[in-house]
Amino acid sequence: MREIIHCSIKDIKPDVDIILKSQGVFTPPEPPEKINALLDMSMDLFGKLSIPMGIISEISISEFEVVYSGEGQNEKNTPVNEIFRRADNLALFTATLGEGISREINELFKLNEFALGCMLDSVASEGIEKVAEIAQNHFSEYLSKSGQTTPSTRIMRYSPGYCGWHISGQKKLFEFLHPEDIAISLTDSFLMQPLKSVSGVMIAGPKEIHHFEDNFPFCSKCSGHTCRERIKSLR
């Protein structure tokens, strides 16, 4: 199964609370007028400039083993390395908002429109996660329709650049997935362009396989530990 997904803007409307939180704005029930105006302008630009698309492509565990090995630069032990081997199904994915929105963010900073640029960046970051969620829903529906799920099946996304999976892993991931079909390319340092793009693997299996302790050697150097929230969200 390989599918190119086209999303509509209304399906990826970013969550205002998450955007404001990322901007450090915690003012229930209403943020100040100036900040609301920036948010409205950013949402408007997001709607006009985003071209949300994604690709999902099923991959076997043995194929993924090759993709995951990447350029041989991963940490020795990683959560993904343990999780994918116990998965029922895997799919590579990528998603993008297109070049226009990244270009606009850069332009706004060049024009000293820092507040609007920064707000638009937050809106786009939240928006691209929504595109990835839609891609995940497609994978979930596909598995469900083909009778490959059980009540305990949970899908989680993991990406190169995080948790010991070296960013150079994007190279093999791209060789398998061909994101050039939706105009995503890799730089020499293995980062995606347009910048507002995400990629990785969706791992489907019993929810227990996704549980891990954040005590890998590299975890001590991470201040985010967002994995804890992700694992907690598995119900």
Binding site: A115, C118, M119, T187, L195, S223, G224
Partner: protein, 212 residues
């Protein structure tokens, strides 16, 4: 209210047009440019920084104030250069090699400029050699490095190692920041400081430059 206070207060409110208007007026009235900078623009940003740290205003307020500061600075900068008035120090900043995420680094640059530093922004995906060579060439006091990815943050160590190899670690200090970076990691790789956020990065850079 005197003109410099007008500049400072309008800057605090993010009113860029008023800041520009009063900066022009201050120049016309022959107020020394260093006073306009220190007691108008930097004083305003200093207040903004304090309010932000006290959680009385939010990041977008700081960025609106920064835009207002830049509108005044654009008017004042040619005069400061002409009169040979130095900045409080040069800082070379960039996102580490392999990383294209630059919002955090941009915010630090904006806040550093607001505090009166000259900022040389090398952009993103910056090699260790480029950081070190540019900092040496510019006689910068500090190198600021940012990373968003756990895998690219290791590149920060290479910059510090390169400074050590070239015997520059005494004269060029380093500060690191970014989502996966921590105080502990900064200590481990031998960075001189860690900036938790843009506001704290400015404080730490000020401290580093005072220590020299």
């Amino acid at each position: 209210m005197d003109i410099l206070k007008q500049i400072s207060e309008n800057l605090r409110g993010g009113n860029d047009k008023k800041v520009l208007e009063f900066t022009k007026l201050a120049i016309e009235q022959k107020i020394p440019p260093k006073d306009i900078l220190d007691d108008g623009l930097i004083a305003g940003m200093d207040t903004v920084g304090k309010l932000f740290k006290a959680h009385e205003i939010f990041l977008p307020d700081v960025l609106l104030a920064a835009k207002a500061m830049y509108s005044g600075m654009d008017e004042l900068k040619p005069i400061l250069i002409r009169e040979g008035i130095p900045t409080i120090g040069k800082v070379v900043i960039g996102t580490i090699q392999g990383d294209l995420h630059d919002i955090g680094k941009n915010l630090v640059g904006i806040m550093l400029k607001g505090a009166g530093f000259e900022v040389i922004d090398l952009g993103n995906d910056v090699s260790p050699e480029k950081f070190v060579e540019r900092a040496k060439k510019e006689n910068a006091k500090v190198i600021g490095m940012s990373a968003l990815l756990t895998t690219t943050m290791q590149g920060m160590r290479k910059v510090i190692d390169l400074l050590n190899e070239r015997g520059l670690s005494g004269e060029i200090k380093t500060i690191i920041g970014g989502a996966p970076v921590s105080e502990e990691f900064a200590r481990e790789i031998g960075a001189d400081a860690y900036g938790y956020d843009a506001a704290s990065a400015v404080d730490r850079v000020k401290k580093l430059t005072r220590e020299k």
